[in-house]
């Protein structure tokens, strides 16, 4: 009997989790290319839809919240305020939905060929991210029309905001894509999260309104602002909307909102939430991954 030197062997089906993605970046690139090139296959207007949907959404909110509910009286440049937050919420919603579906959508592959399964949610997230870029371009353009001047600080805030959202979605996406394999209910839970997400961050109102209502329950406001998405939206607000001095009709003083009090702590808290989501997401994913092939 030959003495077996196990060090030369691999254990099939074991991956190093999300870090393996770097080793498989060529495959990741192809998977992303596949999802982006297939997204609007057989549609006449194609990528145009990536602009139409957010535009319609923006117009609806603008008319209802800005004009009918008169928020534009309290928020100068309300369209810019709304749009700079909305693009980020859209990014969150799209990436989370695609990530959740990713494992089940790639059923045929997961069942038959082994590769690090983290690739699927990640490819879905990056694929959905490409649809955020046109929206960001529109936002930049609109901001310039409002007299916005790009600065190093605003670029930094934008990048930080995007990073927070994407990192948060990676954690959530790993978790929900794995749970979705056994319990398709997960996609319904995600549907609810997406609906709530739009209203849980200050885009259709301002953080100061929440602050005023929550004076008796400060922890409520702490909780509200510890949401990574809320922090990211505030970063975006300050990068675009906040850097243009806005004046309201009745008051000559600049009416732009400053940072929420103790914003540094909220940034720290949201980073904590993200790390927690990533750790739990990866842990659950790895546990569930073992039975993906037999559960699909």
């Amino acid at each position: 009997m030959t003495q077996i030197d196990y060090s030369a062997f691999d254990i099939p089906g074991r991956s190093r989790g999300i870090l393996d993605v770097f080793r498989y970046r060529y495959l990741l690139r192809l998977l992303i290319g596949k999802s982006t090139s297939l997204r609007y296959r057989n549609s006449v207007l194609g990528w145009f839809w990536s602009y139409v949907r957010p535009t319609v959404q923006f117009l609806v909110y603008y008319l209802v919240v800005g004009q009918i509910l008169q928020l534009h009286k309290q928020v100068p440049f309300f369209p810019l305020y709304l749009f700079s937050g909305l693009v980020l919420v859209n990014l969150f919603n799209e990436t989370l939905a695609d990530a959740t579906r990713s494992i089940v959508a790639n059923k045929a592959l997961v069942r038959k060929i082994y590769m690090p399964r983290e690739l699927f949610p990640l490819a879905a997230i990056v694929g959905a991210f490409t649809h955020f870029l046109p929206q960001l371009a529109v936002l930049l353009f609109v901001s310039l029309l409002f007299g916005w001047l790009p600065s190093l600080l605003s670029v930094g805030l934008v990048l930080a905001g995007i990073l927070l959202v994407v990192a948060f979605v990676v954690g959530l996406g790993l978790f929900f894509s794995a749970v979705n394999v056994r319990f398709r209910d997960a996609s319904n839970v995600v549907e609810i999260i997406r609906t709530v997400a739009t209203w849980s961050v200050p885009i259709l109102y301002t953080w100061s309104m929440v602050y005023e209502r929550a004076t008796e329950f400060p922890w409520l406001f702490h909780l509200y602002m510890s949401n990574p998405l809320a922090v990211a939206v505030e970063l975006f607000h300050h990068a675009f909307w906040g850097s243009i001095p806005g004046v309201l009709a009745e008051d000559p003083a600049p009416a732009n909102l400053g940072w929420p009090p103790e914003f540094g702590w909220y940034v720290a808290a949201s980073l904590g939430v993200i790390v927690f989501a990533l750790v739990i997401g990866q842990f659950v994913f790895r546990r569930a991954e073992r039975t993906f092939a037999q559960d699909l």
């Binding site: 030959t2 691999d10 495959l27 596949k34 038959k112």
Partner: protein, 246 residues
């Protein structure tokens, strides 16, 4: 002097695998079962029971058995798609499978895009794929259709291209599962010739097949599995006899 001896390519040690016969399909079901104190992870049945074997470098081994005997499960454990519940599986070198060829193909992509995507799925780099692209297309006999969307292919063309990609992957261990019912007789002959050529080059093969003729041509050793247990492991001719007497 154990280290001078050639190391095996595949080691399967005391592997057992259970499958759940699930009674829960949703959170609601799971919740109800918890309340009623019924098992959430319902009954199990054993697909593999203490399976052990070693496949050496350059060996061609057929895994045989009736439907449901656990041979495909064995293959999936070696490929890493499934994990053993007990025991261990080791592989050395690059393992790729002709497991249900075409799993990674997308009907809306062109033949060319699919070749690159599937080569990457099977572990090839961009450079390797480019270097072998012409060879892959030539072997598949697809010709000008390579830039058509795969959904416009006939099923034969589809399988030929898929098989061609899989067989041109640079690898040390090839796992073959029931794929050679592919295409017409001339193409099957071509595939068998290609597999033999690979075996002659020292590629280790693990074949799951019902086709006695093919197994006899390709493999020198047979492992017979019956109800999740290895009942025979030895020369292919004897293995086929054991299979007949089941």
């Amino acid at each position: 002097m154990p280290t001078t001896q050639p190391q095996p390519r595949i080691v399967v040690e005391h592997v057992s695998k259970w499958f759940n016969k699930r009674s829960t399909r949703s959170m609601k079901d799971a919740f109800i079962n918890i309340i009623r104190r019924r098992a959430v992870r319902a009954t199990q049945f054993q697909a593999l029971d203490d399976v052990s074997f070693t496949i050496g470098e350059g060996e061609s081994v057929a895994v045989m058995g009736l439907n449901g005997s656990g041979k495909s499960t064995t293959l999936k454990l070696v490929s890493g798609v499934l994990e053993p519940d007990e025991g261990r599986v080791f592989t050395r070198g690059k393992v790729a499978g002709l497991i249900e060829v075409g799993a990674g193909f997308h009907p809306d992509l062109t033949g060319r895009e699919n070749v690159f995507l599937n080569a990457a799925i099977l572990g090839m780099s961009e450079k390797e794929t480019r270097a072998r692209f012409d060879e892959i297309v030539a072997f598949s006999e697809i010709g000008d259709f390579i830039d058509q969307e795969v959904k416009h292919y006939s099923s034969g063309m589809f399988m030929r291209l898929a098989f061609s990609v899989a067989i041109h992957v640079e690898l040390d261990v090839l796992l073959v599962d029931e794929v050679l019912a592919v295409g017409d007789a001339p193409f099957r002959a071509k595939c068998n010739a290609k597999l033999k050529e690979l075996a002659a080059q020292g590629v280790t093969m693990m074949v799951v097949s019902h086709s006695k003729g093919q197994v006899k041509q390709l493999c020198t050793r047979g492992i017979v599995i019956r109800k999740g247990r290895v009942v025979f492991d030895g020369p292919i001719a004897e293995a086929l006899e054991v299979l007949e007497t089941q």
